[in-house]
Every structure is written in structure tokens, then in C-alpha cells.
Symmetry: D2
Subunit: 87 residues, 4 copies
């Protein structure tokens, strides 16, 4: 019999093993991603910026443009960016 105090031992073990296998795969892919960034760095790319590029590509581009415009406005109001030309 496979129950321990009402816990289906084999079923529990199977779930745990499936999760562990998937977590290993996930970890392995996360390592691959790090390797690609390292490779990009090795040929001269700025990986911090590269990460930002990847993040930006996930965003809605219209929404992003609008946010950048509001950001410029705020930074300008705070004197944190040079005034736009011809103002």
C-alpha cells in the first residue's frame, strides 16, 4: 500500500519529481540566457542596455512613447534635462 497517513506517497513523489525536472530545465535555460549576454558582452555590446532593449520590445510601443514624452516633460520641469531646442 502506498499511503502514509493518508498521503498518496507515489503520487506525491511523482509531482515532486516532475517539478524538480522542470525547475532544472528552467535553470538550464536561465543559464543559457546568461551565456548569450556574456557572448554579446564579449563582442562589445553593453549588456545592461541590451537587457533594456529586450524589456522595451516586450512593451506596447505606443504606450512607451507616451510615457517617454511625459518623462521628458517632468525631467524638463525639474530642470534635469536641457530645454528642447527653439523653445
Amino acid at each position: 500500500m502506498s499511503d502514509v497517513n493518508g498521503v498518496a506517497r507515489d503520487q506525491l513523489r511523482a509531482f515532486v519529481e516532475r517539478i524538480e525536472r522542470l525547475e532544472e530545465e528552467k535553470k538550464s535555460i536561465a543559464d543559457d540566457i546568461k551565456d548569450v549576454y556574456a557572448e554579446a558582452k564579449g563582442v562589445g555590446f553593453d549588456t545592461k542596455v541590451l537587457r533594456k532593449v529586450v524589456a522595451i520590445r516586450k512593451q506596447d510601443q505606443n504606450e512607451r512613447m507616451e510615457q517617454e514624452a511625459v518623462l521628458d516633460l517632468y525631467l524638463h520641469a525639474l530642470g534635469m534635462v536641457p530645454a528642447p531646442e527653439e523653445e
Copy 2:
């Protein structure tokens, strides 16, 4: 006049400064917490366990006891803890 392209410059600056002041205070208290842990470590306490104690005290204790009981059951079913006595 205090508007820059419709942004109320003084109001914006006031919000930013209030947030920055509060964030400094928050940072300062976070540093104090680290100091208390360092002091506890200095007189021999295990700070990893101390953090766990603090976390446990935030939990509902009945709920915690129930979860610990289920955890024991699962670990036992997986052969990860010695069998309870007299079984």
C-alpha cells in the same frame, strides 16, 4: 509662472522631494534593522534563524501549526524525516 508645458513645476518638485525624504527615512530604518541583526550576531545569535523567528511571529500561529503538520506528513511520505516514534 510655474508651469512648464502644463506641468506644475513647484507641485511636481514638492512631490518628488517628499518622496525622496521618506525614502531616505525608510533606508535609514532598514539600516537600523541590519544593525540590530549585526548586534545580535555579535553576541552569538544565529541571524538567519532570528529572521525566521520574526517571520513566524507575523504568521497566524494556528495556520502555521497546521502547515507544519502537513509538511511533516509530506516529508515523512517521501522518506525525508525519520518515522515518528512508536509507529
Copy 3:
């Protein structure tokens, strides 16, 4: 020619696409893990505890036992657990 202001356009695009493909795979495996937990929940397992089991299996078991012993000591000192039997 594939350079834009000194940026190797094709190389950049290749890196970005490799990263995006890997991130999709990672996301897909993360979804699979969620599905396994959902399935375990569906047959009656406590997924919060199941997550803890998976985390515990990653730890060094001797270290874990030691930490649990210290935790019991601290909780006991604070009157947060019933005194051990026969004291």
C-alpha cells in the same frame, strides 16, 4: 553594409532574437511548473506545503536539521512552542 553608427546591426538582432527565444522557452517551462502545482492541488495536495518540500529538498539536510533545532530553541525561549516533553 550592416553597421549603424558602429553597431553591427545583424549581430545585435541575432543576440536579441536568441535571448527572446530563450525567454519564451523559460516562460513556457514556468507555466508548466504552475500547471503541475495546479494538478497537484486538483487531487488534494497543499501546494504551499508542496513548494516548501521542493525548497527543502534543495537544501543541505544536515544544515537544515541544525537550523530547525536552533529555531525550536529560540521559539521555546520566547514561549512560542510548548515545552519539549519530559522537561
Copy 4:
């Protein structure tokens, strides 16, 4: 006597209570910060952008300008921004 199995009960309790008091203060300031953002939102500011402004002000501004320049280069190379004027 104040020791329980070698744990200085009063000292442990004092540390825990100091930590809990500081954590409450930290939580209270975090709530204050949320309130300021809510107030800013209430008078029409975009709080997502406001958070970004606060983050930008923490950065080294020269470093930030350089990173923005590299980002523009990469986005441009990927055809993700309109070409700069007069190129």
C-alpha cells in the same frame, strides 16, 4: 534565571522586539510613500513616470546620458526608433 537551554531569553526577546518595532516604522513610512504617490495621482500626475523620475535622480547623470545614447543607437539599429533627423 533567564536562560533556556543556553539561550538568553531576555536578550533574545529584546532583539526580536527591537526588530519588530523598526519593521513597523519601516512599514509605516512605506505606507506614507504610497500615500504621497496617491496624492500626486489625485492631482493628475502619472505615478509610473513619477517613480521613474525618482529612480533617475538616484542615478549618476553622466552615466545615465551615456546609457541613453547607447540605447538609442541599439534601438535605431533594430529599426525601433525613427532615424535621427538629417542623417
